[in-house]
Amino acid sequence: MSTLPASASTHSSLRWAVSDVLTIARRNLMSLLRIPVAIVFMIIQPIMFVILFRYVFGGVIAIPGFSYVNYLIPGILVQTTIFGSVGTAIGLAEDLQKGLIERFRALPMARLAVLAGRTISDLFRNVIVLVIITGVGFLVGFRPGGTVVSYLQACLVMLIFAYCLSWGFAFIGLAAPNSEAAQAITFPIIFPLTFASAIFVPLAKLPSWLQPFAHDQPISQTAIAVRGLMDGTPHGQSTWISLAWAVGAILVLAPLAVNRYRKVA
């Protein structure tokens, strides 16, 4: 049936692996753009949080020496990027459920590409959401004290953190029976970590028994690091702790996810 000769490949396997990752990432983003509702929901949720905490709860949360909106927005951004990385679990569970992964596994493509492509497209999606929610923040009075460079450093810290975490969600997505279950499994992991944290309220306002956990857990450390950088008063220690958590997470979670991908039936 073919009339054209297939051109011989001269690329090295590494170049093909990169090409495979980009092909998958591109497909995920194209697929995302085709569901406008999904994009709207992706942005609506953080906007609701901004409005809720800025105008409803904000009045009763006093931060000494800080306007609440400047405290809140960095936290919301961290929360949003982490929620965004949950999308990795849902996306992979859907691909698995629908039979796309079955097809990919019979192709001579790089094994890692389905997972790497998915996490990278979710990273890209997080960048877009970050830009939009930053804009929303400015609209409601967010005025960070730091420089543009320190703001970008803050974005980098939370994107790295969310990216590394998404490998754990990749594992959950491949282990879950369907996308609804994948989402349900992530909820009890993410919810306590984002709310018992320094994202919305100052840690001093939390019950004393909760404070050690709420202070030391990785999402709080990331929020403290991001807030410090955005404000121009970086917390070097929290920044390094956040990055250490991120590196540790990807070193443990990526092999788990890859192993799961190999075995998934």
């Binding site: 049936m1 073919s2 009339t3 054209l4 000769p5 297939a6 051109s7 490949s9 690329h11 093909w16 090409s19 495979d20 092909t23 998958i24 497909r27 194209m30 697929s31 995302l32 085709r34 569901i35 629908k98 039979g99 796309l100 079955e102 097809r103 990919f104 596994r105 019979a106 192709l107 001579p108 493509m109 590409a113 039936a265």
Partner: protein, 334 residues
């Protein structure tokens, strides 16, 4: 390539820590350039076999080569020689037909310009040119299967695995798909096809194996299998179950296959439909029993299973699904 595009030897695959034996020692040899049929009901192990040959699943034991490469030791070489389409391996429904084919082509590591041209050509060949830029979600069932098949063909694989390619399709779409498969084989492609439909296997496959509970229970050409199971099914229905039960022994010797009573209906696979029908009618008439219905039909997969295994295709086990009288009857004929 050797004479056999696919060779599998004693493949066993268990699930749930060994509790479920999906495949229990399956060996087969698929000659190059033919359609080879894997016939069996749901749960017989067909899909598991295809997944092992397509390197998606590894066998618990046994070995297999595809295009001369070992499916466990050389999976990437195998993947370069196969295309897979079927109920469990689908396309992205948020992409257009063209985007799907291009993606699969690129993931097969083919040159970009070639992939674009090949995708357009396949969409043309399969009557999808008009729908090329539509999102796959909007495709009909038949269009979707044609796109599935096209996606398996982007890389021009010499060996094609089709897992129930027409299940759930309307008759016209089935015919279309059969035509495409036949043209592919004329072009030299080897096709391993799984199906639940006897007519599909009969129409397309030169050689067949019949799977049941993970084991091959029959193999040969379609003609050999048909000869083995008779060519026609005689269906007699009566007003009461009593009448049916009285007639059964009267006509049982008209075929070497069992006459099965189900309520008020007797079904019997026969080799010479018209002659046997005439004989049966004379005997029923002589016994002064009234017939309320009569039909001759082509044997179905159910009939094949009934004749080969003594149980119907959809029955989970032989023993607990059958009344004791029928069980003995069938064993006597087995």
């Amino acid at each position: 390539m050797s004479d056999y595009a696919v060779e599998a030897s004693n493949i066993v695959r268990t699930f749930s820590g060994g509790d479920v034996r999906a495949l229990d020692g399956v060996s087969l040899q698929v000659p190059t350039g033919q359609v080879f049929g894997l016939l069996g009901p749901n749960g017989s192990g067909k899909t598991t076999m295809v997944r092992i040959l397509a390197t998606i699943l590894s066998p618990t034991s046994g070995s297999a080569t595809v295009a001369g490469f070992d499916v466990v030791k050389q999976p990437n070489q195998v993947r370069r020689h196969i295309g897979l389409a079927g109920q469990n391996a689908t396309v992205d429904e948020n992409l257009t037909g063209f985007e799907n084919l291009r993606m699969i082509g690129l993931l097969n590591h083919l040159n970009k310009a070639y992939v674009v041209a090949k995708s357009r050509q396949l969409l043309d060949d399969f009557g999808l040119a008009d729908a090329a830029n539509r999102i796959t979600k909007t495709y009909s069932g038949g269009m979707r299967r044609r796109l599935d098949l096209a996606a398996a063909l982007v890389a021009d694989p010499p060996i094609l695995f089709l897992d129930e390619p027409t299940t759930g399709l309307d008759p016209q779409s089935r015919q279309d798909l059969w035509g495409i498969i036949e043209r592919l084989v004329e072009g030299g492609t080897t096709v391993l096809l799984t199906t639940q439909y006897l007519d599909e296997a009969d129409r397309l496959a030169k050689q067949l194996v019949v799977l049941d509970h993970g084991k091959i229970i029959a193999e040969g050409t379609s003609a050999q299998l048909k000869a083995q199971m008779g060519t026609t099914v005689l269906v007699l229905s009566f007003a009461t179950t009593d009448d049916a039960a009285r007639v059964q022994p009267l006509i049982a010797d008209l075929s070497d296959k069992p006459a099965n009573v189900e309520g008020t209906i007797i079904e019997m696979t026969v080799d010479n439909g018209p002659a046997v029908t005439a004989d049966a009618l004379r005997r029923i008439d002589a016994a002064d029993i009234a017939l309320s219905g009569l039909a001759l039909r082509e044997p179905s997969l159910d009939d094949v299973f009934l004749n080969l295994t003594g149980h119907k295709a959809e029955e989970p086990t032989v023993e607990d699904a059958m009344p004791s009288g029928r069980r003995q009857k069938r064993k006597a004929h087995a």
